[in-house]
Amino acid sequence: MIEDVTVTVPRRTDALLEMSGIVKRFPGVLALDGVELDVRAGEVHCLLGQNGAGKSTLIKILSASYQPDEGEILWEGRQVALTSPQAAMALGISTIYQELDLVPDLSVAENIFLGHEMSSAGFSQRGATNRRARELLERLGHPEISATRSVGRLSPAAQQIVSMARALSQDTRLLILDEPSAVLDHGEVDNLFRVIRDLTVEGVAVVYISHRLEEIRQIGDRITVLKDGRTVATGLAVEDTPTSELIKLMTGRSIEYVFPQRGDRPSATGDPVLDVRGLELSGVFSGVDLSVRAGEIVGLAGLVGAGRSEIIETLYGARRASAGTVRVLGKELRRGSVVAAVKAGVGLAPEERKSQGLLLDQAIYRNITVSTLGRFSRLGMLDSRAERRGAREVAESLDVRPAGVDRLVRLLSGGNQQKVVLARWLLRECRVLLLDEPTRGVDVGARTEIYALIRSLADSGVAVVVVSSEVEEVLGLADRVLVVREGRVVHEGPANEIDESRVLDLVMEGNAA
């Protein structure tokens, strides 16, 4: 069906791909219930929907990881069955997943040509492979990525570029990008958009999935909105559809990014709970001073790679500082010891929630109590009833949904997984909470909830440090903002005395070239 290309006349000339009535069932769940999607050559088609709306299932059907139970898929007007990933690839469908599927120990070039290696008589052609890889990377605007470097040593952003290069190394006609901007900073997103535009000019169709509505406004041509496995709107023109309308379609209610009110009390009094002096991690950042009082939220803004995450990981003890001191309530923490930090009342919600923050295949309650086991045990023996009760109380107070602490964490949405991480530290009654990208992978509706939660934690006397790539988030949430550039704090001041464009200027200065 793929081979004989010229037989039928396309039904509708402009649609490259048409999906209609797609149904996909999983045991117990109807993941897709009649999804419609049509994608035209040369357009950027945005796919919107909350977590669990069925976006990922849909793209897995497109890349033939899943088979639909019902419905038909037309490719250039002819019905096709995407029976295997190879069949999808043969049509020219490439997918770049949120969790990148690269082989860390192979080189950049080897990853790009993985599965379609350039070879002659069975011998790989190293020179040609590397040369071609360099061309692709150049085309993507990243000539600085070495084709011979092993992928595991690249930053997440660079790894994504490699994934893009892999898609381009094949004859791609439909490129699916699943939240590509999640690992990218501002400049890199611009670059990504430039690449996408170049591709669409060449007639490639792009399906773009993102939580960031402002991005969709920037790059998208048309929009399809999924909710609860159904298409609630399809083919909306981006310029004619207000953002509030999109949010309404996605959530069934209209919401904006609502940041909670800052506390009125003068937060500049009292001794700092967290006091960092001259913290340094050689080669990454140096001379970082930071003090946070009880009830205060301090935001760290900066580009990915500026050292934001490294700063909080270092003061948490997850990395060993090369110089400087970290004090919690006046007591100096041992360098490079997470155990000491946790004992002193510091908690971290890490950036890579799934791999660093959670035990995905364990129950919610176990994830919540993992840092507090001592409290539920006597002589090492766990009182699992008390443990469950303790976990349930916090989970309920944070409104983790669905309720029930015996459920596996893997089955929760991003926002609820984040709540589980917060619940862990809430249960521990920590004094200092470090949050690295707290709303990454969290859908719009749940974000507001997470923001309110962070504020209420601060109001209860916790000193909070927030790292975020979204300037809006840092400014909206924090009382005080530190801007980090190339491992140095370049600005510190109250959040309400600085605006987004000023922060972006500070962040970009010296990077502009």
Binding site: F26, P27, G28, V29, L30, A31, D33, N51, G52, A53, G54, K55, S56, T57, K60, Y66, E99, D228, G229, R230, Y316, A318, V338, V339, A341, V342, K343, L348, P350, E352, S355, Q356, G357, L358, L359, L360, D361, Q362, R366, V370, S371, L373, G374, S377, G380, M381, L382, S384, R401, P402, A403, G404, D406, R407, L408, R410, L411, L412, S413, R424
Partner: protein, 365 residues
Amino acid sequence: MSDQSTNPGTSRAPDVGAVENPVAPTGDTVEVEQAAARTEASTSSGGLMSGPFGRNLGLVVALLLICIAGVITAGDRFASVDNVMTILRYGSTIGVVSIGMTFVITGGGIDLSVGAILALSSVWATTFATQNMAEDTHWVIMVIAALAVGAGCGLINGVVIAYGKVVPFITTLAMLAAARGLAEIISERKTQIVRVDGFKDFFSSEPGGIPLIVILFALVSLLGWVVFNRTTFGRRTLAVGGSPEAARLAGINVNRHTVMLYVLVGVCCGLAALMLVSRTSTGSSTHGGLYELEAIAAVVIGGTLLSGGRGTIVGTVIGVLIFATLTNVFTLNNQDTSTQAVAKGLIIVVAVLLQQRLARRSTST
């Protein structure tokens, strides 16, 4: 960080909110979160009961089949109290090692040196010097020697793995070579006969008609189960094996815990050495040959995930019994050890294939 979804048995969960136990889809629209809430009841009860229970049931059936084969081929020679005790006595030494191995594997490691540590412990506990000292003071000296040697080897393994960051496979492979070599040096490759009567009498006693070493195995299994399922140590083992990075960032001292896991398996080897010394009345550098493979096989057949993060003591015990019974049936039918080895190899593969299929069904449906 290894992607959990590539582990055999942990099936890839689709992005939709819930994929657990079967719930009949009602109506045409199933709201995902609601569906998730509905499956919750069956997850909390069914997930805990039916999953591991179903797996263990499969193992019990396999054990029964082997027993039936035994009865058919060997009749009363198989189905006698004496023979059952023989099976249990045989399974006890490897069983104690396997309990320790369950902890290490669940904690994300592996120990290839168990057989060698066992040999070294058996030799150390039965040297001329140790036995002299034991005769002069108390036979408990031999017990202390064996347990201390086991703990010491485990400590070395653990420290090199946790703080030296050498992968467990290599570290324990080195220990395998070194410990058995040391056992050969100490014993001069001679079999050391046990002559301390107190030791012999104690370990060969049969309180209530049950051999002491079988009782020891039962106690170790029970203790292992409690520690595994009911203590902070067990919980941390699951966390460390499931995601060392997440465990570390949650404030668990992962390095220290890793050391403790290897010390634990080392002590188990020391105890198993004592049981084997008592059974054979000798200490020898050849004791415990291929125990590492038998123990790992029993653990994996039992349902413990080789990549860590999930384990079962009950499964391990049944896995040990399956192997011990199988060996017995073969021996009663005068099959040589080579045939046994082939059969064991087949059983390992078939059992793991079945396990994976069952696990996939229990987690994805």
